[in-house]
């Protein structure tokens, strides 16, 4: 009995220690962003001064990041959902190869992808200096996540037979795609969308090489603030980033939760009239 209690105590302690390991730096960082003088400590008092300073100095990076992530979402939706659909429907060996190739941008370091983009398009001045250059990098990086997420849902339903059923009722390709295919991979599209937005907002590796002084995104601005300004300002910046990203992560969790499958038995003898 006693050893049971001790075991439980040990497990609880270990879990709490791991949680603390993960959470304490985040909490300290948030506090640093709200403290008047970090080197004096909390006694110096709490303030929103640093948050406002970030807002004044880096507001444009926040809106640019949101803009790029939404544009990125739009592009990955338009490219990724049909890609996943075609990969599912064809089911050939070639489609397996394409699926693996799509994963490459995740495996290859972001810096390498960025360098490749620069050597390919760097000469096109107006493109190189516009935010769409960063968008291209983000799409390359996030598209696999959208495709994978939709593929997973499509693999779990018998899409071919569903479409055949719709076709037997007279539905043409467009009607089948919008009435049957899209609604039935809704969860995959939602999960993929949140993933894409989250990844795009936080993307640093690629963006750091792709950006120009006029096209800084939030993570690039954050690095900038940490490198050249007071620690409090960098921390306040982190706080703003967390406020943007945590709701997205929570939504992702809510969607990822599998739906409860109900099991319905047949009555042994159906009611008859």
């Amino acid at each position: 009995m006693r050893s049971h209690k001790m075991l439980f105590g040990l497990q609880l302690g270990f879990t709490l220690a791991v949680c603390a390991f993960l959470i304490v730096p985040v909490v300290l960082s948030i506090l640093a962003g709200l403290t008047s003088n970090y080197f004096v400590g909390l006694e110096s008092g709490l303030t929103l001064r640093w948050v406002f300073e970030v807002w004044d100095g880096y507001r444009d990076t926040i809106f640019r990041s949101i803009g790029i992530s939404l544009a990125c979402l739009l592009v990955t939706l338009v490219l990724g959902v049909p890609t996943a659909y075609v990969l599912t429907r064809s089911g050939s060996r070639l489609s397996r190869v394409v699926e693996e190739l799509l994963m490459l941008p995740i495996a290859v370091p972001g810096l390498a992808t960025a360098l490749a983009l620069i050597s390919a398009y760097g000469g096109m001045g107006s493109f190189r200096t516009s935010w769409t250059f960063i968008l291209v990098g983000h799409v390359l990086f996030t598209l696999p996540f959208m495709v994978r997420s939709v593929l997973a849902v499509l693999a779990s339903i018998d899409l071919k037979t569903l479409e055949e059923g719709a076709a037997s009722l007279g539905a043409g390709f467009r009607q089948r795609f919008f009435d049957i295919v899209l609604p039935n991979c809704r969860n995959g599209i939602l999960a993929g969308s949140l993933m894409v937005v989250t990844l795009s907002i936080g993307e640093f590796n690629l963006t750091w090489l792709l950006h120009t002084p006029l096209t800084k995104t939030l993570p690039v601005g954050l690095a900038d603030a940490y490198a050249s300004l007071r620690l409090e300002i960098g921390s306040a910046y982190t706080l703003i980033f967390l406020l943007m990203i945590v709701p997205l992560l929570l939504a992702l969790q809510a969607i990822a939760r599998p739906r409860r499958k109900r099991f319905i038995r047949d009555d042994p003898v159906p009611e008859s009239t």
Partner: protein, 357 residues
């Protein structure tokens, strides 16, 4: 009546329809088939015999190899995709749309046809009433049992007043008791509607109960076409004889008084034959009355009490014991000697078909 009397049932013809898959597998040898207006035709056979492929050719889900033609009422529809053929289809997995309610599923074909909303609602209500699932109208598909799904699938296929109804093993996914009940219901429904129906199954009992005609298929070919009675009583080949119901086989040779085998002489009135094997059904054998001469004598190898009757396996010195049925009161035990009579009308000689399927 749920069908306006004006819609005439459809007749369907396949002209030398063969099917070879992309990997070179020939799943269907060139097939000629005429399906009469209003009949229920059952395609029966083991898996891989080409029955589902035949159904999908008729539906328009597969294209026949070059040279094959599909005719609806004499009109060539080979080039038409399934969307344009207006055939109702019920799939083994039902293929109900999980993103729609029961009513949404049943009404989908009407929505595609852009019927006025009021007419759609009326037709959906009519179909739900016909399948007795009115109460389920607003349920989602994952809230339905297998039997309920089956009814929704039927209602959905029939709602658009299809020219023909195609059913691909619709009862396979259900448990035995429900299967029997639904079989009766589908049978009634098809008779009532008078619609041309093509029903694919591997279950011979289902085929017997539902079919006006049965086509038995094997290895991409038609093994036999006929009414259930013809298929059962006059099987054209050993394959059909073995696939439909239970068949007893005895080996021996023709003699002057009948077919001579290890356990006796079976009466044979079929004239001259070089048969070294005869076949007959379990119901054509019975235990001889007291004092009656016996055709065969054997000993009971096993006896199974089935409630309403007793199934006996009788060892007659052949490779396999004879299967026969006796009354429920039969108390013969294993090892006991039994004297048997064989009904000469039930004795078949398929020796001329040897070598065919």
């Amino acid at each position: 009546m749920t069908r306006p009397a004006s819609t005439k049932p459809l007749s369907i013809s396949l002209k030398s329809c063969a099917k070879t898959f992309a990997d070179g597998t020939r799943v269907l040898e060139p097939l000629d088939l005429d399906i009469h207006a209003g009949e229920t035709l059952v395609l029966l056979g083991p898996s891989g015999c080409g029955k589902t492929t035949t159904l999908r050719l008729i539906a328009g889900l597969e294209q026949p190899d070059a040279g094959g033609r599909v005719l609806f009422d004499g009109v060539d529809v080979t080039a038409q995709s399934i969307e344009l053929r207006n055939v109702g289809m019920v799939f083994q997995s039902y293929a109900l749309f999980p993103n729609m309610t029961v009513a949404g599923n049943v009404g989908y074909g009407l929505r595609i046809r852009k019927l006025p909303a009021a007419a759609q609602r009326a037709r959906v209500a009519e179909m739900l009433a016909m399948m007795r699932i009115e109460a389920l109208a607003d349920r989602s598909i994952d809230q339905l049992s297998g039997g309920q799904r089956q009814r929704v699938a039927l209602a959905r296929a029939l709602a658009v007043q299809p020219r023909a109804l195609l059913l691909d093993e619709p009862l396979t996914a259900l448990d035995a008791q429900l299967r029997d009940a639904l079989r009766v219901e589908i049978n009634q429904l098809l008779r009532e509607l008078g619609i041309t129906a093509i029903y694919v199954t591997h279950d011979q009992a289902e085929a017997m109960a539902l079919g006006d005609r049965i086509i038995v298929m094997s290895h991409g070919r038609v093994a036999q076409t006929g009414t259930p009675r013809e298929i059962y009583h006059q099987p054209a080949s050993h394959f059909v004889a073995g696939f439909i119901g239970t068949m007893n086989r005895l080996s021996g040779e023709m003699g002057a008084n009948g077919f001579v085998c290890a356990a006796g002489i079976v009466p044979w009135y079929g004239g001259h034959s070089a048969a070294d094997e005869i076949l007959f059904r379990p119901e054509d054998v019975r235990i001889a009355e007291e004092g009656e001469p016996a055709d065969l004598v054997g000993s009971v190898a096993a006896a199974f009490f089935l409630g309403d009757r007793t199934r006996l396996f009788v060892d007659v010195g052949d490779r396999q014991p004879l299967v026969m049925e006796s009354t429920a009161r039969c108390t013969r035990g294993v090892g006991e000697q039994v004297r048997l009579r064989v009904d000469p009308q039930g004795v078949l000689d398929l020796s001329s078909q040897r070598g065919s399927l």
